[in-house]
């Protein structure tokens, strides 16, 4: 399956007529133009394209980090384009999990504490937070490294901690921006296997931005962006 959207199934993410224009020094720079895209529930999808094609901008808008100039983004039937900053932050904390290229773990926290971090925003008590963080670390296979600090982990392990952090609040969608960009082939392979597993076994919708065709091959659906438009 390699198409932009399907009319018959209600998708997890539904993007319609999405445009993004930046103003730089009085000039208008069109990054995305009238883009339509659906992401189905429980699929692992990849977004590819050359630098400057708009893939990170699209990812940021779907993740509620940036706002579109025109068009709409619906996630689980909710239009997020008009939510306030505060409402968007709350929405992100309960709906979305993030995986970054450079992991962005806090060096002063152990693996367990890093995973527990998003749960600080919930009303859960300390013991429950810890239990959930332990479960997330078990899912990514790091139950033996819970007390380790990021500096004591390999790059692949750090990214697995970041994945555990992304799933700890049981989000519907996981967005990953070049999650294997800083990893060697073997570690990248392990991470991609984990992402596949999260989609197939835990029904997570995963959107991964990548430059790496090998990584993209592992996704169930691949989208290609060029000059702000989806070409496949």
């Amino acid at each position: 399956m390699n198409q932009a959207y399907r009319a018959d199934v209600r998708p997890m993410v539904r993007v319609r007529g999405l445009s993004k224009i930046y103003e730089r020094g009085g000039e208008q720079l069109k990054v995305l133009s009238g883009l339509d895209l659906d992401l189905a529930e429980g699929t692992f999808e990849a977004l590819m394209g050359p630098s400057g094609s708009g893939k990170s901008t699209l990812l940021n808008i779907i993740a509620g980090l940036d706002r579109p100039s025109a068009g709409s983004v619906e996630v689980k039937g909710e239009d997020i384009s008009h939510l306030s900053e505060g409402a968007l932050a709350a929405w992100r904390s309960r709906t979305l999990g993030f995986i970054f290229q450079s992991y962005n773990l806090m060096p002063v926290l152990t693996a367990l504490e890093n995973v527990e971090l998003p749960l600080l925003l919930t009303s859960l008590g300390g013991a429950e937070r810890r239990k959930r963080a332990e479960t997330a670390l078990r899912i990514v296979g790091l139950e033996q490294r819970m007390g380790h600090y990021p500096r004591q982990l390999s790059g692949g392990q750090e990214q697995r901690v970041a994945i555990a952090r992304a799933i700890v609040n049981d989000p519907a969608i996981i967005v990953a921006d070049e999650p294997t960009g800083d990893l060697d082939r073997q570690s990248a392979d392990d991470i991609l296997t984990l992402l596949e597993k999260l989609a197939s076994e835990m029904n997570k919708t995963i959107l991964m931005v990548t430059h790496d065709p090998v990584a993209a091959e592992r996704a169930k659906v691949r989208h290609r962006l060029d000059k702000g438009a989806l070409i496949t």
């Binding site: 980090l65 932050a89 999990g97 993030f98 970054f100 962005n104 806090m106 504490e113």
Partner: protein, 388 residues
Amino acid sequence: MTFLGLSARNAMRNRFRTTLTVFGVAIAVLAFIMLRTVVWAYNIGVESAAPDRIVTRHKVTFVMWLPKRYIDTVRQEPGVKMATWASWFGGKDPKHEQEFFSTLAVDAETYFDVYNDCAVKPAELAAFKENRRGAIVGDAIAKKMNWKVGDRIALKSQIFPGDWEFAISGIYTATRKSVDRSTFLFHWNYLNEGMPSSTKDKIGWIVTKVSDPARTADMSLAIDRKFDDRDTQTLSQSEGAFNAGFLGMFTAVLKAIDIVSIIIMLIMMLILGNTIAMGARERTQEYGALRAIGFLPRHLAVFVLGESFTIGVLGGIVGLALSYPIVQLGMGRFLEENMGSFFPYFRISGGNALLAVALAVGMSLVAAGIPAWSVTRLRVVDALRRVA
């Protein structure tokens, strides 16, 4: 894990930089306490003066003499409980020319009744009264000069020529903060006997203890009125006002010290602000990640303020811990022993200690204000892109 706990751990991320900053704050707190203690200790003579004592001196200046017979007139004034007198001797130990201490010729019979905040053992006081060459010295100067009861001391005076020999009869301790513990007290009669006829029966000032401390102002006027039509007029003041007049010549210096103490804290605030701003800038991408996973701008502000708060508290505590041995035990002891007239009680007051820590903590929060505000203004996508 809590927000504040996380802030505290963030503060320890760059241990070297944090340690230097904590010590910077601590040194500022130490300097602040030191300077404020100088001002406080200087003013203690005024603040802790006995409320029921009046000092009467020559109207022109306290270095000019009063006739000794004035004491009888003062004692007759209604409301006067008792009165004594003293004269400045200006003595020095020829073996220790550099050491300064007050030397006063006093009325042995009445001085310690009026100055009942100088505590002397009854036996030592009795021995002092019996011995015309007896002397009673403060415990601070006794310790410093290694004087003991029974020691024979020879002093020279810049005012009264000759060799003056004394025997230490006793040592007094202070029960009031304003009492100089470095004074050398001896019999005025011994001094008077050696005076030429022109300066015989002259005294430096009269100290009166009144029955009603609330009436010291009225009593001062009443005493002065008694001598209005005499050749030598007087100026009577409460002990606090007298001490203030004596110390008043240094008011401008004290004001300057006060201002410098605040400037030091402001400099500390700028240094701390710079450290916090550097830390916040280095963590821009991390703040972007936190925002992405749902943290709000105010959460980031709490992290930044909490980090600065941690450094401020640590700096305040370390500064306070350093202040006691350095200011109180080191500098304080030295000043009480060597400059007891100006600093009879050089200790860190609870108010100054509290103010120093409160300023360190308060200013640390102010210092983090701009960095905290800046992180709340970050756009998440820009923050995630930025590499410090």
